[in-house]
């Protein structure tokens, strides 16, 4: 099980920030998260940030058990 973290509007929409989810790739985890329709709409927007073990990733890298995978909307600090 990977540790999945959500930030910003994604955490707000999901109603949780951390959860253990089974999946062997970023795309597999995202597909599981998309079972929640409101989350699916947010995860489908452009500019989604994906971070595996605190490294920003692109594409669909594999995910090992105990990996930490974060999904976040486009940043809006400053």
């Amino acid at each position: 099980m990977a540790r999945v973290l959500l930030f910003g509007a994604l955490a707000d929409v999901a109603g949780w920030r951390e959860r253990d989810i089974a999946g062997d790739s970023v795309e597999a985890l995202r597909a599981t998260l998309c079972a929640d329709e409101r989350l699916a709409e947010r995860l489908g927007r452009p500019g989604l940030m994906t971070v595996v073990n605190q490294v920003i990733v692109r594409g669909n890298p594999p995910v090992a058990p105990d990996d930490e995978v974060a999904f976040a909307p486009p940043v809006s600090g400053g």
Partner: protein, 151 residues
Amino acid sequence: MVRLQTDPIDPGALLADFCRARTDAGAVVSFTGLCRAATDGQAVETLALDAWPGFTERVMAELEAGTRARFDLIDLIAVHRWGEVGVGEAIVFVAAAAVHRRDAFQAADYLMDQLKTRAPLWKREEGPDGRRWIEPRASDHADAARWETTP
């Protein structure tokens, strides 16, 4: 130096500390970002910033290091607030010190563009019209893109 904090930012005290006993710099430029009372005509009562403590500082430090590498600086500081921020309070403070003013102006401008488009922080406004998550504006990305062609 970068810092992420939930305590209020005191821009005056930070600037005074940054300038203190500095005999090598001929220029210090600072920027303070404040929480507005309205965005696009919609009243703002409170602002909440989500962050990822640890990771957010690490990315901020990378952006600060990139700014130091790009300009001829003596010193650089970035302090960002997260959690709840009241209207009129500072959200972010950046200061750059250089021998001459041009590098200091450009470094502060560049670092702010980087922080706005790349630092892992997510802003939510709350007001009488409800709560809304802020998405980056096209102008923020256009501002950051200026540096891709301007050395």
